[in-house]
Symmetry: D3
Subunit: 314 residues, 6 copies
């Protein structure tokens, strides 16, 4: 019986190269052109940026510290739980402080912070962040309860925490939002995009979201920077809470920096594929049907469906 | 020539801390409140859960055992293929048995299984699972053939197996569904969410899916727990086979546990963005157009498009 | 105080096995049946395929070589930048050459390439690919600028490069497209699916895309193989540039290999959820509204919305 | 300019194999013969052994818990030290308990321990081991002090702990000796051999060693199972405290299990290459010169050198 | 309460660099000088060498295939043992074949082997190596038995296999010696040095060693290239079987390539620190005492000690 | 057919714990006692030490930069060699600078260096170290040549560089000695101990060693801090160049800090096991035989053996 093996290759290697010197030179020139176009002088060229890899580890460690029995290591028990929580927090907060310093140094170009300012601010930010963690755990407990109550397929709160991408997304968001409010938009955005990549749920870290929030399935959900969401709100996959893009400024450029995303009041449900655009308000307790396209406010208790919209059209 | 280096930091470190003791205490209190609200006493606090990381490795190893030449290690050949398959199965099935025991112990709270019951059940479950693998390989061969026939961009069956997220999703689903039917909803759901995270395709492990199934592109597809799908069915991205959510029980809570997702008969095609809701039936050979919103049964051979729906509306 | 520990298990192990011999035999039979159905004889059974893991590392290394200060290692500075770029290119291009050889050997079944042909072609392909990299960097600089100008939430070009999934997707696409055009559809497709898995954005490597391209949010975007996109085009999440699938050939099979996806001219904006199908042309400067379903060409400067479409329907 | 590349190998692979089936069969037969010669029936064939890799991690974790500021992670400080120590102990002791169970199960063949006995014993052993750790730290502090005082090249106690192989060896020994005395000779021996491999110092875990022990350089030191060493003893490289091997039993086999290694009293120094054999006693405060070969007891305060030995020979 | 944190470093980085360009140039010049002095032209500059890391993995995998229940993965049992052995061999032998090719290509400079020769030889070498493995297992079984019988501290054959560095060294040697005899001195030497680094036992791969060989403790043992050792020989730490170095050639250079190390006949014991030099013969059943310095042959049954030597000196 | 599986463990876990709180408290007390005994106040408790793991990577990277074709990555060739060297140096020197700062901060307790001093000194030290690397390469080339000429078993200079522990030891020493002379005894010692652990060769970083140095076999060699070794010196295993330990100061403590190790002049050979003690001089071209014990100077051209020593004894 004979078989085939992987080929070993010839003993006489062939002759060629990738012309590295010329490629390296051309890339050098391309970088130089870009930096000149951006007004970036050489004194900028050594700054480091916050690291996605580092922030991924930091969030995973904080998540384990928040839910040690579910997301922590196996074997944990009552007598060792607090040791684990304390050690995980020490590691994660030290690492977070490094990322905070990197962002503050980065923005120091613009705001002129001194080294002493950066150090003092970073300490204050991480201390406040740490102090806010217990409240975040309670908010997330409410989110988990909402998921368990809102999905007929959910069998236990543990399944919800371990499996549901919507819970993973809101966990990242609640941490990212704390950092966004502390003046760290870049660190916050990186955390949000980690969750986006893992879940397909894109929540801008600026969005304000109340307790008991639940997103089912989740893929394709987009929630914009200035959205405001009340308590016990439930969303399904592919819901957009976006800006109304057709409106432009006088010079044709997009208007920046203003409230431009929806306000969703308490106890609202928005079904899959619905698109809600602009600084409109969805009144408390309303229900927005699947695939609905909504660009105007609706009063509390509204039941909006495609049919009702078409019926309402003249 | 001078360059800038990364700063080294001062020799005189600054003074501060994260107040770990108080944060740890407050998190301890938050956990205690949650456990009390859930009626969880201390005898529960050391149970372990099935592990997403372990299940990810198990599925990857089983996939390599099912398709050794495509998903196995480089260098495999006829004379070594069965050794690889046998060894991979031994490793994966042992590891799976551990996860099965973890879920059975977890659910032992509710169903009162003894240690002996758990051991006997786990052995029986894994033996049945192992015995079912050859049939799963044949089903997946049919799925791959369907993809190759259904996509004009596909160049070979190998490209389909190596590249298509739809194949990755159905591979996870077929394994998860076996475990779901064996009474392991948590393990099954974790496997389903692994595929969801990687592909954006969310198939509940309870869904029943026939041979020759193909999802193209796939991002945003949602298939519910009680869906029943026939043979040679083809879906495109963002298709939802969901429950009709507006119906509620008498006390306002959602009705649980009943057949509530569509039945899709053989040879149906459903195009991108279509939403099919409720326990309705899509008759054999029908074609459902893109973005269609469908909440009632259609007979075999139907050709449903947005236009036809609007024309049919009175 | 007493705690619970993880159970150790009994000293007397139980008796059972997984019946590996029979499962291995049945899987062997299933593989044999499949290979026979595919006409694959044993001389095919040892070929290796391009590796997703290897290509993921190659693209990450090339991305770092293209943007050393942003995506390269920490600590880089002017005096070390070119060393890093040159070394990264050497490593990545050598590794890419191995993957190119694997694909050329794989397709040698069909095109009859000799070993010498494969070697010569692979060298030529990688040399051309390397020489094209500086231009790709300039194209990507234009893409980043477009994102920064097009999103009111973007705070800096650095945030765009580090965070935006749309930039990650176009970076992968521009490299994949080079390889697609060099006659490596399988390698190109694997790179495209790496980006699809990370971002939810599915761009077929055959698509032609001009400079200054920006996709915001991105989840659910699908761009087909023969799409042609001009300069400064902007897309939002869940936009499909697809084929019009209802058209079939005479024998009922799908028609393959022809131009079947849209042409999008310069300066077009397509909002979230819009579906554009078939070989139609979106004229320069047009704006396609959210959720619009479009299967016919529109002239330059068109403003298409759901309302305008319904108004235009007879 | 032309360079050489790594060869790619031919497209036409050559034909051969390793005849795996026959090698596997012959190895199977060799194992069967061995097991028969050892009287090992199949009921033995699934037992697991303690793991060198696991024990290496356990010892490293315990070392960090014993010396958190020197051997623990960077960034530790007063406020986080106890959290780290507690968490590290929890992880290491749980892992140690698994290894203890493996050894007790292994020896259960001989001593007939039941599953309940094994569980109870393993818990008791690990609890006693944990309770003994603080005293081991104090012993090791004395060892470090002795090294710092005894070596003119030592600049600080920190250098001693971080660099000296003799300290690494005694740290492993003190932990291994606790386990040896608890009835775990296999686990203890594996730990001893980890240190032997790293340092070239071979201390049998049965050896009894007092406080303030220091080995300088260390390579080639051998200390036998029944050696007894007092306080403040100092050894140099290649010192052997061995059994006197020329004595044999009546049937020609080596006598086993009796005290057969030296007793070294307090404050003795033994210089490099000295060989001390048999159950002899080196009296308190003696000094044994380099390369000395000693097989009889010497009184307290002796100064033994090669010259003195030769002078003493008749 | 206040603590100290790791310093963050200043926002204003300092100015300096490592003058990389000049260091790189000077190193380039140093390499060029060396290559010129060695007569190495550019056609040599791309050859690869056998890899220590790869060979370490290969030997570890072969060891697990030889002793699957002791050195293989946990969980192995009768029904899965052969699958593991077969798969491990396939992986290890393929990897070994790559290393064999690298050495044959390296030596092709000298012996003028063609690419076809290299391929054919490498296949033949690995096939013979594979076929010899079962006999090596039987030899190693005899070695293990010898260790268990020869050391009063050994409690079981399993402890011997898992713990004794002498067994680790002879396992590496038996594999290395096969490869040395097959004409692969470089691969063989690398394997020998892996064992030397782990155990302190330095056995040249050319040494011929019979069954039932045991080295106790082992650190410092050196066995030369042309040594010949019979069956059931036992050595202790720091034994040298070396060449007699004082003899030199006429031109003052060392004589190369001739038999220059001892012949040790069956059933010899050599105690710690003994030095045996030159092409002498230690007769069957002799015993060489500790620290003995021996440069002339001794007849069978000799009992050599320091005392006996001194007595024999005139 | 039935097999045994690994036991799963009972569903009813047993009750116990490790009494972590009391162990943590007792360890806290032990640390407090130690720190008080050492006069270490809390302002010392957060300093970091140089890291053995980091230094191991740094030396490995520098070794690859010094010998890119032999110790660098596979695939390197003329056109990519300098890129690799430059990038490796940048990475290694940056990492070294961090370790240098850690040692300077550590010693700042004693020498009162300010933060600015530390920064300036560390930059200067690393610049000088970098500038000295090309000369170290040339020294190592001479060492390799000496090994190849001095060992009849050596087949090529490549085998020597890849395999010989003596070369690995001198490579570490030459780098460590540069750092020792730059005032970094702790970093230097850690590097020396890395080599000691890997090779069994213990060279204090303070030792001065000339070009063309070769240690064969090497295990057990010890070279003291103030040793001075000329050019073309060759040592064998277990040679000690130590201090004469029997001499003590008036108060009984060992005398520190003075020249106390041998001076070995050019072209000396010292055979295995020889012990040379005290500030004596071995004259140029001398040969010291195996196991010789030498504590007095010998003139150039001496041939010292055990026999010659005994003959010389009165």
């Amino acid at each position: 019986m004979n078989d085939l093996v992987r080929p070993f290759g010839p003993a006489q290697p062939v002759v060629h190269d990738w012309h590295l010197d010329s490629v390296v030179s051309a890339l050098h020139a391309a970088r130089a052109d870009w930096r000149q176009s951006q007004g970036r002088l050489r004194d900028f060229s050594t700054r480091e940026f916050p690291s996605r890899t580092a922030l991924r580890d930091i969030v995973a460690t904080l998540a384990a510290a928040l839910f040690p029995m579910r997301l922590g290591p196996p074997g944990l028990r009552d007598s060792s739980e607090d040791f684990f929580v304390g050690h995980s927090l020490a590691v994660a907060l030290d690492a977070l402080a490094e990322q905070v310093v990197l962002e503050l140094r980065y923005s120091a170009r613009l705001n002129g912070l001194s080294a002493e300012d950066i150090e003092a601010q970073s300490v204050a930010i991480v201390q406040q962040f740490a102090a806010a963690l217990p409240d975040q755990r309670r908010l997330l407990d409410a989110d988990i309860t909402a998921a368990w109550q809102g999905d007929p397929a959910a069998r236990s709160v543990d399944e919800v925490l371990l499996c549901y991408p919507g819970i993973n997304a809101i966990l990242h968001h609640r941490l990212a939002h704390l950092l966004y409010r502390a003046g760290l938009p870049l660190v916050a955005r990186i955390i949000a995009e980690i969750a986006h990549g893992e879940t397909g749920i894109d929540i801008h870290p600026g969005a304000q979201i109340g307790a008991g929030f639940f997103i089912d399935h989740g893929t394709g959900v987009v929630i914009g920077e200035t959205a405001v969401i009340g308590e016990r709100v439930r969303l399904y996959q592919a819901v957009t809470l976006g800006a109304k893009r057709f409106e432009q400024g006088e010079d044709g450029s997009l208007l920046k920096g203003q409230p431009r995303h929806p306000i969703v009041e308490d106890d609202v449900v928005i079904y899959a594929g619905a698109t809600v655009l602009g600084r409109i308000t969805i009144g408390r307790g309303s229900s927005i049907g699947g695939n609905v396209w909504l660009t105007r406010s609706v009063p509390p208790g509204s039941q909006i469906s495609q049919a009702s919209l078409q019926a309402a059209s003249p």
